[in-house]
């Protein structure tokens, strides 16, 4: 009686700890059997994403009982830290579209400044995280310092580092004076100059390119089919940016260059974010140089009307889409779709076949914002 012995190649299942994940989520991986003797270079066979830890049930709660118009502002802004201004701007613009509310040009321009500085801070934070994962502490520290300087410059105007609560229906709660404009412009110019040199250095770094080029590639067609948005899609050659495609507010008057890369890998995504940060500085300086005079909010009391409205805004992680249904008493229904939501859908497919050691870099390059994606 002959018995054939098959090689014992068992796959391993692991759960990735939170420290390696972009936020509270569960990522269960099944690893393929390692091919080399020491068990290095394990590849991911399949991945399962478990969500639900950030779910606050915004849409369900509003649909169940409605929400007061003023309370809605803070609820939407507090959904997420890094994307708070994009989410709030999108929501407010949807309400303004519903209520036919005209926004003064100065308020629209200042909203643009808030949105763009948030984009810069988000992109620099992500790039700094990438540098940390690549074990480049000096570059990481430099990027974090630049981010801190721009956040601080904006905080001098808004009096808050995050979620300043400035954007309201019909305008802003606070104006900016000439000194504030001068200080913010000066800070932007200084940070931009330093960042430009840093970006050049990162883009031309062979070490960084060697590590990130070809990592977790997403082809353009895949990005379109998967409905990917923002820098992740633009890094794959999809030239879609709501600031240019669907301009609203002050973006209707400001030309924004769409930064596009073709390779769709982690390096392309990093490059897109860094160049977009530079582009945001250009837009901010242009707006501040030519800030329209006049009121910063609509005068008088706003009478909300019954109806629905939509808005599309380009957030740091891609298009934010908002649909609202309201009545004079308050918000009746809301749907807020953030840029990271479609990325979660392609994550299991993207991780399949990746080396386990690349997991952290891959997740960082996708820049998933969980509070936005699964609110």
């Amino acid at each position: 009686m002959s018995t054939s012995r098959k090689p014992q190649v068992a796959s391993r299942n692991i759960t990735v700890p939170w420290s390696d994940l972009p936020g509270p989520m569960r990522l269960d991986l099944e690893l393929e059997p390692s091919s080399d003797l020491l068990g290095w270079g394990a590849r991911i066979g399949s991945a399962q994403v478990g969500l639900g830890y950030n779910h606050v049930g915004l849409e369900e709660r509003v649909a169940d009982g409605g929400l007061d118009w003023h309370r809605a502002l803070s609820v939407v802004e507090e959904l997420c830290g890094p994307c708070s201004q994009a989410n709030l701007l999108c929501f407010v613009q949807a309400v303004e579209a519903m209520g036919r509310i005209i926004v003064p040009p100065r308020a629209a321009a200042l909203r643009l400044v808030l949105a763009e500085t948030e984009r810069i801070a988000s992109h620099l934070m992500n790039a700094a995280g990438m540098m940390a994962a690549l074990d480049l502490p000096e570059r990481e520290a430099s990027l974090r310092d630049l981010r801190e300087r721009i956040v601080q410059a904006v905080a001098e105007w808004t009096s808050a580092r995050i979620q300043p609560g400035l954007i309201i229906y019909g305008g802003l709660t606070r104006n900016i004076d000439e000194t504030g404009i001068r200080n913010l412009t000066l800070a932007c110019r200084q940070v931009e100059r330093t960042l430009r040199a840093g970006v050049t250095s990162i883009i031309n770094s062979k070490d960084i390119a060697a590590r990130l080029a070809g990592l977790a590639p997403i082809r353009g067609q895949e990005a379109v089919i998967g409905g990917l948005r923002g820098p992740v899609a633009r890094a794959s050659g999809v030239a879609v940016d709501m600031r240019a495609v669907f301009p609203t507010g002050a973006y209707e008057d400001e030309g924004v260059t769409i930064v596009v890369q073709r390779n769709g890998d982690a390096f392309s995504r990093l490059v897109v974010r860094l160049l977009e940060a530079l582009e945001s500085f250009r837009v901010i300086e242009q707006v501040l140089d030519d800030l329209p005079p006049g009121p910063f909010k609509s005068r008088g009391n706003l009478d909300m009307r019954e109806g629905t409205g939509i808005s599309r805004v380009e957030g740091p992680r891609g298009e934010v889409f908002c649909w609202v249904k309201g009545a004079p008493e308050g918000l009746r229904a809301i749907h807020l779709s953030a840029g990271s939501f479609p990325t979660l859908g392609v994550l299991p497919g993207l991780l399949r076949g990746q080396q386990l050691e690349d997991l952290k870099l891959t997740l960082l390059s996708l820049d998933i914002c969980l509070p936005c994606a699964e609110h």
């Binding site: 050049t200 409905g227 999809v238 030239a239 879609v240 599309r312 889409f321």
Partner: protein
């Protein structure tokens, strides 16, 4: 390096010829009339009964008991992209559903809404946190007819397609727009809907 953009290679600013753009349409629309571009779409949708409202950059279409995948195909053929999906159940439940106990095991006795005990009891119940597995169970109780909203972008316009269904059974559009799969799963849990996979060819 003395490049005008501060050393960043010029080819990183690629505006001219990226790989992909938004879908082009066969007939170039008049830029002064954004609604002209949806003529081919209107011809495809003509076989359905619907109400159309136009509002600046948004076109709202209202359908009742139609196959969502057929509508999605019409949009796909017209070069539209799906932005997102949402939905809601009618707020007023049917009398039978309203009187039925929620899970059969714990039938709540009617309480006087004006009493403070009733308020406290409700407050405690509301503060109870549900885990991810239980999330959406409360709202998943079928209450009335469901309305699904599909948001499509086509050029500068957003089409809000409202499809109302009494049965709670909807044709899935994930075969036409794969990005819809996640949203459909979420709505299936939250609104107790059943998404039926399309069997016909998606194109």
């Amino acid at each position: 390096m003395n490049r005008p953009n501060g050393g960043v290679p010029d080819d990183y600013y690629e505006q001219g010829d990226p790989d992909l753009h938004l879908p082009e349409y066969d007939e170039q629309p008049d830029p002064n009339n954004p609604y002209e571009s949806d003529e081919p779409l209107n011809r495809q949708l003509a076989s359905f009964a619907f109400i159309r409202e136009e509002d600046e950059r948004e076109v709202r279409l209202y359908f009742r008991d139609v196959a969502a995948d057929e509508i999605a195909k019409a949009f796909r053929r017209s070069g539209a992209l799906l932005i997102s999906i949402t939905g809601e159940r009618a707020l007023s439940p049917s009398p039978v559903a309203a009187n039925a106990p929620s899970d059969g095991a714990e039938a709540e006795l009617p309480v006087d809404p004006s009493s403070s005990d009733a308020h406290e009891s409700r407050g405690r119940k509301r503060r109870h946190r549900k885990g991810p597995a239980l999330r959406g169970m409360h709202s998943a109780q079928p209450a009335g007819e469901a309305t699904l909203r599909y948001f499509y972008s086509m050029g500068e316009l957003v089409y809000t397609v409202n499809i109302t269904t009494v049965t709670g059974i909807i044709h899935s559009v994930a075969g036409i727009f794969p990005a819809a799969l996640q949203s459909e799963r979420e709505l299936q849990t939250r609104l107790a809907l059943l998404f039926r996979e399309a069997t016909a060819n998606t194109q």
